[in-house]
């Protein structure tokens, strides 16, 4: 599958400049959540291969923490969207 061409750097900068603070924050939060989801997938894979109960427990605890952070982040996104729609 062909990759979409990269936009020129100046266009990215311009888009960033034209965006409001709320949009930038939302985008950053979404990126952070994507990263956390990726980490969760990696942890699940490591959990499946855990060699000891202690390690498994540690990974499970960390995974649970990630889920809590994700839950909080997703709730924040919904809250922002609600505020935005009310603002309009």
């Amino acid at each position: 599958m062909s990759q979409p061409p990269n936009k020129p750097k100046w266009q990215k900068h311009l888009r960033k400049l034209l965006k409001g603070k709320a949009d930038t924050d939302r985008e950053a939060l979404q990126t952070a959540l994507t990263d956390l989801r990726r980490k969760a997938v990696e942890l699940e894979a490591r959990l499946a291969q855990a060699e000891s109960n202690d390690e498994a427990q540690r990974l499970k605890d960390k995974l649970e923490l990630i889920q809590r952070h994700l839950k909080k982040g997703e709730a924040r996104l919904v809250e922002w969207d609600d505020q935005k729609s009310k603002g309009k």
Partner: protein, 617 residues
């Protein structure tokens, strides 16, 4: 005394020369008006740009070529290399910029100053600048009277330009008329002696006027009036370049190390450039002649040729020094070591006998010019407060800070580290290493310059709260230490073990927080802090049942039960406070004032649920 005497003699000589001839008075007044114009322009740009220069500089710190470009463009625009130097020093002092980039800005500023000579020789000498100066002065004064800060700044810029133009005109007219009274060319000295004498004269004139720009303009106007020879004018320009570093060196005496490093870099650069220009002045003059013919500059247009010479020798200097920039920066860092980077170390087995006062090292007056710069310095000082607190807390736990930061298992280290009786009082250490910095940080946070953005205000508030937490954590450790000492040799092995566990818990937490603070991955740091929060909760002996088990078994002496309960509370609170401070410090350092990731930090009750679930499993 000597300084005052010199000032009086100079003033008498100046007035005497003015009385001797009206045209000398005119030239002197021209220089004075020109210098006043530069001051006004400098002041105006500070107010008018309202932090734009600083914001531009912030964006030009990642690459050396950008730093050089910034130096060229801004110095050309504001016509003041000293303004650019001052801002650069404040950036260096606050840690927003590295020395290499700072040197880049100074290199660029040296090229930027050459544009002034071009403007005056190409335009200023051909037309009567006072015609333009008058409307500028009139408009400028009206704007200065406005209450709006930007208008006032613009007013200062306009009056500054007006005075610059007027000053140039006065000098020009003064020299033209003076020619009929006294021909200064009779003092011209040819050859090597002339080169050296006039270089020295240029240097002295710049030191006295505190401006190489003024020396150069004076030289150009004198050259235009045929009062000095072209060769001597070249020597004066070279001397002015060295003279400007003397001003910078005087300004850097007593300054913090970044200021001294930059002043030294300026001196090295200008001296090398001047030396090259002196040694190769003849080939350079030939090059100027050749380039003049290429660009269509008349052979007898010495003012334009002087500007060309000035540009060539500054650009040559930058080209010559560019390959050595990195080495120069490293060398200067060695010569002028940044004592602020030395972290506090308190050997656990000795009493601290240091006497010198502990004062803030980042929060200096030079950084309190712009919110971003001041905020960055505030953060650096907080990092120092954190480092000092870690050292004091490690000491209170009878450990060296190196133990805390080592990769060796802390439980083993604790087994080998005895509880010493002859150590310093933690209260004294707190008063000496923690309290003065906290006071300085809180005071500075109330005097931050300019208008802070909402995000910056939030950051400052959060940092103040975090500072309070850290200070209280150190105080709690102080209370805890009394019982650590009291029970370390107690006949009850369980009590002994429990107090060793408290030491291990706090040492472990300090170790982990120190490493999380250096995590480049923000998501990993977010998880790391949450894990520590949860871990501290789990260590609470009242909650995890250890305390009940110990009391029920009767293995804890009755007189120690309340102490144990209270000290477990101290441990828990110290843990939370340390995590809170470390978190605030981490997010503020990454520049994510109210970043997306910060909004993901789990509150105490959100973690409660999690740890309870884990505990019940």
């Amino acid at each position: 005394m000597v300084r005052r005497l010199f000032f009086l003699v100079a003033l008498v000589l100046l007035l005497g020369s003015a009385w001797w001839n009206l045209n000398v008075q005119r030239i002197g007044a021209g220089v004075a008006i020109f210098l006043f114009g530069m001051l006004s322009l400098d002041n105006g740009f500070r107010v008018f740009t309202g932090g734009t220069l600083e914001r531009l500089l912030q964006r030009s710190t990642d690459r050396v070529w950008k730093s050089i470009g910034f130096g060229i463009v801004t110095t050309s625009l504001v016509q003041s290399s000293s303004l650019v130097s001052v801002i650069t020093i404040s950036f260096l002092s606050s840690g927003l910029m590295g020395l290499l980039q700072g040197i880049g800005v100074i290199f660029g500023a040296n090229i930027g100053t050459t544009t002034g000579a071009w403007l005056v020789s190409a335009i200023g000498l051909k037309v009567s600048l006072s015609i333009y100066a008058m409307p500028m002065l009139m408009t400028g004064v009206v704007l200065i009277m406005q209450s709006n800060q930007h208008w006032r700044g613009l007013g200062h810029v306009l009056t500054g330009l007006g005075f610059l133009f007027l000053g140039i005109d006065y000098m020009k007219d003064g020299f033209s008329a003076f020619q009929s009274v006294l021909d200064l060319r009779q003092f011209a000295i040819a050859g090597l002696l002339g080169l050296l004498v006039y270089t020295l004269a240029g240097l002295l004139a710049t030191v006295i006027m505190q401006s190489s720009h003024a020396t150069l303009i004076l030289t150009i106007t004198a050259l235009a009036s045929d009062q000095i020879t072209y060769e001597n004018a070249i020597a004066l320009a070279i001397g002015a370049n060295i003279g400007t570093t003397v001003t910078a060196i005087i300004g850097a005496i007593g300054a913090a190390s970044p200021g001294r490093q930059l002043a030294a870099a300026h001196f090295v650069f200008n001296s090398v450039t001047a030396l090259v220009a002196l040694l190769f002045h003849l080939p350079m003059i030939h090059l100027v002649d050749w380039l003049s013919s290429v660009f269509g500059i008349a052979a007898d247009n010495y003012t334009l040729k002087l500007s060309l010479f000035h540009t060539i020798f500054n650009v040559t200097g930058v080209l010559l020094m560019l390959p050595f920039m990195q080495r120069l920066a490293e060398q200067l860092k060695q010569w002028f070591t940044d004592e602020r980077q030395n972290r506090l170390s308190l050997p656990a087995r000795q009493a601290d006998r240091r006497q010198d006062p502990v004062t803030p090292q980042y929060l200096t007056s030079s950084v309190m010019t712009h919110p971003d710069v001041a905020l960055s310095a505030l953060l650096q000082e907080m990092r120092r407060l954190w480092d000092n607190s870690v050292a004091v807390m490690a000491y209170a736990l009878f450990l060296d800070r190196d133990d805390i930061e080592s990769e060796q298992p802390l439980d083993l280290l604790l087994l080998h580290s005895a509880v010493h009786e002859q150590t310093s009082d933690i209260d004294e250490l707190y008063e000496r290493y923690v309290r003065p910095l906290n006071t300085a940080i809180v005071t500075a946070s109330h005097h931050l310059p300019g208008q802070l953005t909402d995000a910056q205000q939030e950051t400052v508030f959060a940092l103040k709260v975090a500072c309070r937490d850290l200070v209280n954590a150190v105080k709690d450790v102080k209370h805890l230490q009394k019982n650590l000492r009291r029970y370390h040799n107690h006949p009850s092995e369980e009590l002994n073990q429990q107090y060793r566990a408290f030491r291990l818990q706090l040492a472990e937490l300090l170790h982990r927080l120190q490493s999380i603070l250096n995590y480049p991955d923000e998501e990993e740091a977010l998880l790391g802090f949450s894990e520590q929060h949860q871990w501290v909760k789990k260590q609470d002996i009242l909650k995890n049942g250890t305390f009940d088990r110990l009391v029920a078994s009767g293995r804890i002496p009755a007189e120690a039960i309340t102490s144990l309960m209270n000290d477990s509370e101290y441990c828990r609170n110290i843990g939370f406070r340390l995590i809170h401070m470390a978190q605030k410090l981490y997010w503020a350092q990454t520049g994510s004032a109210v970043s997306a990731l910060q909004s993901l930090i789990l509150e105490d009750e959100e973690l409660q649920e999690n740890s309870d679930v884990s505990a019940s499993e």
